[in-house]
């Protein structure tokens, strides 16, 4: 046996017997590095005759392949063993809390505004807005509410000046006026927003939310009004059938005027909407008064249509079982968390309004 062969056997046995990754690295250097065994053998080739060279080179290469294979198997065996041993020691208590996260919430009023917008979007209404501070003309006069009329008593108004010319709007109806004055018919809009009345008790807050609706075109009549609101109420409460009645009423800005009641009953202290023999008022509506159209530069001979006003907070309370109107504005952390909506829960037509 040549020295070369002896050396190869020695390397093989060294590799086979070790279980230590450092030792393996040492052996690797001894064999394969620049100054290692194999290179030193290759260097010898130069001093050999052509025939010897050929045989020896082939021997070295053969030995190199063998050693490489043994080395690869050994190295992966040892590194696997090291890894498993390391893993064995790694153990965390996965029941410890995750990193803290906070889920934000959308206020029920905002959610309901989005729901309502979604419903009316489907039948071609677009969203308009108006300022919270209004003048007396847009809030009352243009809407056919005469000076010193008891109808004004229905709105306990917050005024911003002693002459009672600027005020916080008592309803969203002035948006009707603004919309009509700045554009040309037809009009088909809804206008959600904050409204204000100086009233504060169990069921009233000085600020609340309304949604105005206005549809003016050539031949829009009370049949359209009924159809529109029937559709809205059914969609909003996400039911196929709902008991509903239109009851004549009076608003200065509509004629004829109606209030809409929906049927309900109380079952185990919970309100069940849409059936039963009790009535709950949910909105006011009517055909826009010709005087309002005239005030808004729309010719009542050619155009007519309907308007409605919905109490958004009230609808939110009914749909989501919230008992106290005042709680909407008290910002109680627990309330916001409980009644709020996930921001990803955007009402859409294809997915449905609510989760």
């Amino acid at each position: 046996m040549s020295d070369f062969e002896k050396k190869i056997i020695e390397f093989k046995s060294r590799l086979n017997s070790t279980q230590d990754s450092n030792e393996i690295e040492l052996i690797r250097t001894d064999i394969f590095s620049k100054n290692g065994f194999l290179n030193s053998q290759f260097k010898k080739l130069g001093s050999l005759s052509e025939d010897e060279k050929k045989t020896f080179a082939s021997n070295i290469n053969k030995a190199k392949q063998e050693l490489l294979e043994i080395f690869r198997v050994k190295a992966s065996e040892v590194s696997d063993r090291d890894l498993y041993e390391k893993i064995k020691k790694e153990k965390v208590d996965v029941t410890l809390p995750e990193k803290e996260f906070k889920i934000g919430k959308i206020h029920p009023v905002s959610q309901v505004i989005d729901e309502i917008s979604c419903i009316f979007s489907e039948i071609g209404f677009s969203v308009e807005e108006g300022p919270d501070v209004e003048n007396d003309y847009n809030n009352f006069t243009a809407l056919n509410t005469p000076e010193d009329h008891p109808a004004k008593d229905m709105h306990d108004t917050f005024y911003l000046d002693e002459n009672m010319k600027t005020l916080l709007r008592t309803h969203t109806s002035p948006v009707q006026v603004r919309t009509m004055l700045k554009g040309k018919p037809p009009f088909k809009i809804i206008a959600p927003g904050r409204t204000y009345r100086s009233d504060s008790d169990q069921t009233h807050t000085p600020m609340f939310h309304q949604l105005e609706g206005l549809h003016i075109d050539k031949n829009i009549n009370m049949g359209h009004l009924k159809g529109c609101l029937n559709y809205f109420i059914k969609e909003f409460f996400e039911v196929d059938k709902i008991k509903m009645r239109f009851r004549p009423s009076h608003f200065p800005f509509t004629e004829p005027s109606a209030e809409v009641d929906i049927g309900y009953r109380i079952e185990k202290n919970k309100i069940i909407i849409g059936e039963g023999d009790k009535w709950l008022e949910v909105l006011g509506c009517g055909m826009v008064h010709p005087n309002v159209l005239k005030n808004c530069k729309v010719d009542p001979k050619n155009y007519q249509g309907f308007a409605f006003g919905i109490g958004i907070d009230r609808l939110a309370m009914l749909k989501y079982g919230i008992n106290d109107l005042r709680s909407f504005f008290e910002c109680d952390y627990r309330w916001l968390n409980y009644y709020g909506f996930d921001p990803l829960d955007v009402p859409t037509n294809y997915r449905g309004l609510s989760k």
Binding site: G104, K105, E122, G124, A151, D161, F246, C331, R334, P343
Partner: protein, 794 residues
Amino acid sequence: MKFTKDWLDVHLKTNKSESQIIQKLNSIGLEVEKVEPIKNELSDFIVAKIIKANKHPNADRLKLCDVDIGKKDTLKVVCGAPNARDGLLTIYAPPGSVIPKNGMKLEVSKIRGETSYGMLCSESELKLSNESEGIIDLNDKYKTKIGKSFFGEKKGKNVIELSITPNRPDCLGVRGIARDLSASNFGKLKELRKSKVKKNIKHNLKIKIEKNKNQPCSIFGSCIIKNIKNTESPGWLKNRILALGLRPISAVVDITNYVMFDLNRPLHAYDLDKIKNKITVRNSKKGESFKALDNKNYTLDKEMCVISDDEGVLGLGGVIGGERSSTETHTKNILLESAYFDPSIIRKTAKKLDLNSDAKFRFERGVDPQSVTTGLDSAIELILEICGGEVSKFDVQQTKKFKDLEIKFDPKMVLKTVGTNININEIKKILSNLGFTVKTKGKFLNVKVPSWRPDIFGEIDLVEEVIRIIGFEKIRSIEPEKKRTKPTLNYFQKHFHLAQRSVASKGYLETITWSFTDEKINNKFKEKLESVKIVNPISSDLSVLRNSLYPNLIFYLEKNLNRGFGDQALFEIGPTFTGKKPGQQITVVCGIKKQSIDEDNNLKKNDLIDVFHIKKDLVQSLTELEIRKEDFKVVENTPSYYHPGISGSIVSKDGNLVLGHFGALHPKIISNTFGFEIFLENLVEYKAKNKKFKESLTFSDYQKSDRDFAFLVNKDTRAQDLTEVIQNIDKNLIKEIKIFDVYEGENIPSGKKSIALKVTIQSDHKTLDENDLTNISKKIVSTVEEKTGAKLRS
């Protein structure tokens, strides 16, 4: 407006039941608010038991009793009766009830320092006997009746209460309600009884309406009734008065009230013998005063309508009578007034004096001017029947003629408005039954409006009358068309919606707070804005419109802290006000964050929030709103409510538009709290101006190289100043700059700091070689050193 079915029967011949009538009233626009069992004078008096008769702490003869009246809790009642004792069954009168013996109305009162809720009654007080020694001692039989009315309630009879809309004064009288029902095929309206009273005696009191400016009184009708006996009203009349929720006083007063509620015709009775010489209806002089029937003194402004005699003001016309000329039980001769006053002036007067009365409520809505004599006739009929006496001829002073309005009505308007065809004969019948005079003229109807309907002005009002009586349920509903011609939300509204949900998705709870706030807190946030004061605020701590969203958010944040919630993130999106004119408002998104400091929680220690957390929330939301980092810059000047050293503003690249602020709130306002504001109009304006179309995506596959630099700069140099300079050196090659260390301390001269940054360099066209990279690196160093005074650290 209250009435009973039997009262309605006076005017309406009908076979419909009470419940049918209630349903009908609702469907024709006379909303039924309440139906309640009728109360008689005595139903208030309740069987009660003294649980404990304690000694009154401040009076020897009085007792402080715990009384069981059948409710959950017992009541405290002070009682002076010697027989008040533990376990006694007796009769209890609650506050608000009227003691039959003396007509005294009970109130909650303090007796020798102890509050007494009502009274325990003696037999004489209830007019059961003359026994006034001690309170009633009921036998054991009443043990099961505690809480029940002693005299029993009349079963089956109800008071129906309507909520009459302000346009329908005619239905503030029972007859008006009957008329509407008859028009709805619910019976026949009975004719008013013709007066058979002989008016024999002379009306010898001179009455004059003066021609003053804006004199609201245009008709003053009256008659004199002599030698009456003003007794107690008979039972039927008393019961009607009680049904109205009023208190029977005397026949004359009860009759005038009865006619008012029966015909919507207010009347007033004067004691004739107390009137000095003559009656003048005139405008008041400033400073005149009188004592009204409510026992209060009123000092008048000028131009209020007064009824006066030679001695001064007798009463305020159409609003309230005066005490000086009031009728009493011994009154023998009266003057009965039936007048007409202009609604708007009555309203102004009553509002100025803060005075409310049933008469004022009717006159300001509109009383039938043609009902002056009908009202007198109705009243004298009753007065003569109950009190006897002789009546004079009527004296009617009138300064203005009232003409019934005529409307040319195209019946096609009904179809046009409601979409459902109504037969012309039906239309005519409904209008006639409501009291309109209808004549056909070709295709049109000539419709004369009855004098009791001041709410009818034009054709549309007639359409309303017709459809209201027909019933809204008869209108055919038309399904809405599912067609959209315009986008639902405009550009701004889309951003509102997105901003709201973007901020919420960062863990903030959306709140909605009042648009007004506490002026004291608001002052800390208003900066240069004017306070917008509310003239009549709901409370003194909600007296200004908010100039910022912070005052309310902080208020509620602190409330939640007190509830024990330390970690909080709240936000609101809504208006803040920049002035008091319509439109002087902007839309702000404001978030506020507070973290509780929990020393024991090691797990959380590395997660403490600082200004860069709030900046992250803001910048991430801006990014989601497609305002990218290269679109804005950060500047240090912020409003004074932020911590001056730990806050910044996000402004447009040109510095002209403020998009938002962020930072620690000023510690003097609130400690350890961070917040941000986004100004939505500015943001949307900026975005709209710099609208970029999304180009098709290209990216470079050539080698990317990173080079690190550390610059020694002055302590007050801002990181942004370095990155801006580097960015501008070659926008094509420099893809990203990341600051990875800011260091002061050892090896750094005082007044200096080291900023270390990593610049990513990549070409879109070739692989950069060592030479290219060296060149750009050198350029970065030289430009930064030249423009910022920084020195590369070696």
